[in-house]
């Protein structure tokens, strides 16, 4: 079938067309890797020594100890769960008006900027940092943790909810407005039905996140299971640590499962 065979070469065209950019990026990556990996100053003797402890920790999972620190364990878990529930509820209640204010299609500019500033602040500060400040201001205990998690919930929920409101169906919103409804009626009839399923889904997801976060707030004295966990690691009581970690994983699995159930039920 082949008449005078012409040899034609083919190579996959490069992803980045401009050669200088392609090689520049490659060079930059290599230089970065060289310096960043070079900045690791690892004490290998210490690491080798630790491997035994690592193995002991893994073995501890086969034999977790729920008993020896039973009262600390129960108290810490209860506190974590209670902080999770209260902060999620309060967070949702506060984040709804802020989300309305942060939706560019609903709010006047000054309100919009103010709400967006709150969201940006909440999202940029890590929960632990907020917790440190709250402990400094309100003292040790679950109140500081509760405030921290509520604040974090506001940033998370308001942002996603505001985006949802901004992308809602305009025709439905206008139709309700055209009936002469007041602003509150309009929110109730046009906006709420459209964003409600997402609000419930996001709230369940945030409940899950808040529980996971509540497990570390104890490190800085803001209540919850984290303090017990920290003590366990400090004393190398890996079997107690394993018990706590297993409990956290189980609770998160239960929360994820029930949230998928509820989301399926709402939609």
């Amino acid at each position: 079938m082949s008449d005078a065979q012409v040899v034609r070469h083919w190579r996959k065209p490069p992803t980045i067309e401009r050669a200088w950019l392609r090689y520049g990026l490659l060079l930059l990556t290599l230089v970065y890797l060289y310096f960043s990996v070079g900045s690791y100053d690892v004490n290998w003797a210490r690491v080798a020594e630790g491997l035994d402890r690592g193995w002991a920790f893994i073995k501890a999972f086969a034999n977790p100890d729920f008993v020896s620190r039973r009262s600390d364990f129960i108290e810490g878990m209860t506190e974590s769960i209670i902080m999770t529930v209260t902060s999620t509820v309060v967070g949702i209640i506060i984040s709804i008006p802020i989300a309305l204010g942060a939706a560019s299609n609903l709010a006047p500019l000054p309100v919009y900027l103010f709400c967006r500033a709150i969201i940006a602040l909440s999202r940029a500060l890590h929960e632990i940092i907020v917790a440190i400040l709250m402990v400094a201001i309100f003292g040790f205990g679950p109140l500081a943790g509760f405030i921290t998690l509520s604040f974090a919930t506001i940033g998370f929920l308001s942002k996603l909810l505001a985006e949802d409101i901004e992308s809602m169906d305009k025709a439905q919103a206008e139709a309700v407005k055209a009936t002469g409804a007041s602003w509150l009626q309009w929110i109730n009839y046009a906006v709420q039905p459209q964003v409600m399923p997402r609000l419930i889904g996001l709230s369940m997801y945030r409940l899950d996140i808040n529980f996971r976060e509540s497990a570390v707030l104890g490190l800085v004295g803001a209540g919850g299971i984290g303090a017990t966990l920290n003590t366990a690691f400090d004393r190398y009581e890996f079997d107690t640590a394993a018990a706590i970690i297993i409990s956290i994983i189980v609770i998160v699995m239960v929360l994820e499962y029930s949230s998928s159930l509820i989301r399926g039920w709402v939609q």
């Binding site: 082949s2 065979q5 012409v6 040899v7 034609r8 083919w10 190579r11 996959k12």
Partner: protein, 267 residues
């Protein structure tokens, strides 16, 4: 020569898609497979290269019992069976050339294919085929930049670069406009003639099938209810295949067949 004997397929859902189909396709014959949606057309051709596993029956391609092959031998057998799909099934984020060359994957080792190092012969053949289907100017375009007709031409080139003994064609024109449909059908039939290649073409459009194929098989509820030359299709037969309807406007006589006007681009 492809010989299918007593082929049945029952899906896990309990649906009997094929009920004892027997069919022989001699070399060089283009066979049009017609029938209503759900008659088992797609299942039949997918059983041949075992994208769908047949439940019982034998498939004999030039002496090889396809239904018995283990996965390694099945791969070897698939290399000689080209397939053309309804929605083109090109890998959309790869270039035209990569899509065509993917027809040679069965002959090339993993790392060679990973680095796109195909033998020069394959590349020459790919260029030749792309010229034949009129796309040699689009070698390095991404598949998702092409029009429907162009994509199907790439799909044809991908099947032919396998140097197949048999072509399985699943609704090649279902997503195309009437003019492009004819061009694509003509291209497939010409290529089969050039290479003395046999083909099974699933097709919805009865008139289009009559225009191009040498033999028509009608499938209804998993059984063959018609097998004969295109001009013996009449209202009675169509009623048998598809059910009661006014068929006068659907079929075409030889006198009406227009053998002019539609030219294949790239020639």
């Amino acid at each position: 020569m492809l010989r299918i004997t007593n082929l049945s397929k029952r899906y896990k859902t309990g649906d009997d898609a094929l009920k004892g189909v027997s069919l022989e396709v001699p070399d060089g014959q283009v066979l049009g497979l017609i029938g209503p949606s759900g008659a088992g057309k797609s299942t039949l051709i997918r059983c041949v290269n075992r994208l769908v596993e047949p439940t019982t029956g034998t498939i004999d391609l030039n002496g090889a019992q396809l239904q018995r092959l283990g996965s390694r031998k099945l791969r070897k057998a698939r290399r000689r069976i080209g397939m053309i799909f309804q929605e083109y099934a090109l890998v959309e984020r790869l270039t035209v050339m990569e899509n065509v060359l993917s027809g040679r994957l069965g002959y090339v080792g993993f790392w060679a294919s990973w680095f796109r190092k195909f033998p020069q012969d394959d590349i020459n053949e790919a260029f030749r085929l792309l010229e034949r289907v009129g796309l040699d100017h689009m070698v390095n375009k991404r598949a998702d930049e092409l029009s429907g007709g162009q994509r199907q031409r790439v799909g044809i080139a991908r099947a032919l670069i396998q140097n197949p003994e048999l072509l399985l064609v699943d609704e090649p024109t279902a997503s195309l406009d009437p003019k492009t449909s004819r061009q694509i059908m003509r291209l497939i039939c010409e290529l089969c003639e050039e290479r003395n290649l046999s083909a099974i073409v699933n097709i919805h459009d009865v008139a289009l099938a009559q225009l191009f194929v040498q033999r028509i098989v009608g499938l209804q509820d998993g059984k063959i209810v018609f097998d004969g030359p295109p001009d013996s299709l009449d209202s009675a037969v169509l009623t048998q295949i598809y059910g009661e309807e006014d068929w006068e406007a659907t079929t075409i006589d030889d006198t009406q067949t227009d053998k002019h006007s539609l030219e294949l681009s790239g020639e």
